[in-house]
Amino acid sequence: MSEKTTLRPEIMRSALGRARGYGSAKSGLHHWWAQRLTAMALLPLSLYFVASVLLLAGANQEAMIAYMREPWNAVLFIALILALFYHLQLGLQVVIEDYIHAEGRRIALLLAIRAITVLFGLLAIVSVLKLAL
């Protein structure tokens, strides 16, 4: 009988991982990718933001409206807000998961962070739209 080599994917797991049998860590891969993709998006967007801040230093509301009326400025600001708030929510989530061990407090904080990110992100987007339109 010939010994046939077969792939055994389970060999990639540690003994402890097999014993615990939890499988993959839920949506960890998606979180990891989303954090990197938003990071890459934020590289050019944050440079654009820094340039905008320089241009708008000491501006009055009229100058803000004029700036946001340029379609590309509104688009880039909204893209920045989306990537920024998504990225910071993912980052703060990891910090909370690392340091807050009491389950009730951890879940409460994770929910609070999501609520705050969504509300302030929407506030920023609606404000840009109101200035632009």
Partner: protein, 165 residues
């Protein structure tokens, strides 16, 4: 006899039943040991911050988290700044006056340092994710490069700010 750990007093890590150690959580199996008196103790987790020699690699890693948290607060400020602009000319004038004060400028100065640090070290992290720069001497060099870039970008920003403003 129940052993608890001072640092997390709500959790029973393992229970002694006669000679048998009953572990409450399978992750604790590797965490039990005896100290020099023969007493059952929970092994301390590494890194031990009291004896851990500060290094550029660990310091920069902590900075990355710290600046990330600070910039999250900065993002909330950005939303409030835009909301003030969208509310009324008066509200935006107040927001701009607060940012233009000494206190406001100090806060903004902190945010530029945090932003340029997180930006530069973020590139370093993305390069690691792509598989580059893991050799220790390279890691140290890129670490110092991040610090230099933070200072350089901040100087350029505030230089331009003074020229324009």
């Amino acid at each position: 006899m129940t052993l608890t750990v001072a640092s997390s007093k709500h959790v029973q890590h393992f229970v002694l039943k006669g000679d048998l150690v009953v572990v409450q959580d399978v992750r604790e199996a590797l965490m039990q040991g005896r100290n020099s008196d023969g007493k059952m103790v929970r092994r301390p987790l590494s890194p031990h911050l009291q004896v851990y020699r500060p290094q550029i690699s660990s310091a920069l890693s902590i900075f990355h988290r710290f600046t990330g948290i600070a910039l999250s607060a900065g993002a909330l400020l950005l939303a409030l700044w835009l909301a003030a602009a969208a509310t009324s000319p008066g509200a935006f004038a107040i927001a701009q006056a607060v940012l233009d004060s000494i206190f406001g400028k100090l806060v903004l100065f902190g945010f530029t340092l945090a932003l340029f640090y997180h930006f530069s070290n973020g590139i370093r992290h993305l390069l690691w994710d792509a598989g580059y720069g893991f050799e220790l001497p390279v890691m140290h060099r890129t670490g110092y490069a991040v610090l230099a870039a933070t200072i350089g970008l901040s100087v350029i920003f505030w230089g331009l700010f003074l020229v324009i403003g």
